[in-house]
Amino acid sequence: MPSLPPIRPEDEAVAEKIRPGGAFDAPVDEAHGRILFELALRLGDDSLILGQRLAEWCGHAPGVEVDLSLANMALDLIGQATHFLTIAAEAEGKGRSADDLAFRRDVLDFKNCLLVEQPNGDFAQTMARQFLFSAWQKRLFDGLTACADDRIAAVAAKAVKEVAYHEELAAEWVIRLGDGTEESRARMIDGLDWMWRFIPELFETDEVMTDAAARGLVPDLASIRIGYDARVRAVLAEAGLEAPADQRPILGGRRGHHSEHLGHLLAVMQYLPRTYPDAVW
């Protein structure tokens, strides 16, 4: 094989000019790829784990309409996960697919927030979790439509309309149960109480998020928090409920430190692909 001629300074100048136009492959910016991978993984894992949780209700919900709505929300979320994990797999560049990321990672490698892995409990607890998550995801996706990564922006723009439905539906249930019977009200209070301590993690600004914000990949979480808190307050007020007392926040999901609940969820979700690797239908 003939050896390549030495690179001349003028060639480099030309290459620099051509790169932004896309004529050559952009140089792999490793730091950017790593942040993009982490971010897409977090987004994908949030959607995947909550989608799986909601799917657990299939056939068990209090009524057929509710069963349908939970299954359809699960579908939306798993659709989001497919897109985000595909982006993550490409950013990682190690030949893994979205399916590999979903089905062949262990619990410590999952980067979802702790809120989404919390058990379904009763229907009130599920709706409390859904409202607190969807109200956050809606505002996050609104911001992500301006993401510097075109693919993430496109997924967010596509999914944000669906997430708006999730938020609305869950808010209606929080109000209906909170403002319902003594029993439903007590259950909604318990549900909110369970989920409340996981809210701060949604707004945690660690190194990844700081770096991602500097690269124009994510909106400012602090500004999202203002609208989020206002929305949560308004819905609770309409439900005639007090906000639970602030509890010690629990963090760690973004670094792979999960509750024991996630392992059980993964054992069910990953059973088939791990028992029959490379099975297809």
Partner: protein
């Protein structure tokens, strides 16, 4: 050459117009507005919903239809952007929905596709598919699906 290409894309559109939506087979994928572009070497589709289970089915149906019509060389691409909206359902598609018993997307209160009454109410935000909600007519008491405005 240009004329041949135009004929080709017309023929491809004809093929796609005959591909039904797997969930609502009275509609073709062109009625639904999910065929975004047709070129001489590729067609571009967009999914209705992020998690729509029909997306893969649609892609394989389009592949089969193109192959059967001798367009094996046409590639199929999908794009998310700009996101699909129910505004892209064609007027013909809306009429077909109505005749099938599904109320077409509307920003107001949907009229009952059975009797035309506007005395209708929502039963469930989510219906038999992610894209439909469940309604009931207070005049004729029949339940019906509404294709959600999206």
């Amino acid at each position: 050459m240009a004329a041949v290409r135009a004929l080709d894309t017309d023929a491809i559109w004809d093929v796609l117009r005959a591909v039904p939506d797997p969930e609502i087979p009275v509609l073709s994928i062109t009625d639904l507005g999910i065929v975004r572009e047709v070129h001489e070497d590729r067609v571009i589709l967009t999914p209705t919903y992020t998690g729509c289970p029909a997306t893969l089915v649609i892609e394989s149906m389009v592949r089969e239809a193109l192959d059967a019509a001798g367009f094996e060389h046409i590639a199929i691409e999908t794009t998310l952007s700009p996101p699909w909206t129910t505004d892209w359902i064609t007027p013909e598609g809306r009429a077909k929905l109505h005749a099938y018993g599904i109320a077409a997307p509307t920003r107001g209160v949907p009229a009952c596709p059975q009797c035309g009454s506007e005395q209708t109410e929502e039963i469930s935000r989510f219906g038999s598919a992610p894209c439909k909600s469940l309604w009931r007519c207070r005049s004729c008491a029949e339940p019906f699906d509404l294709f959600k405005c999206h």
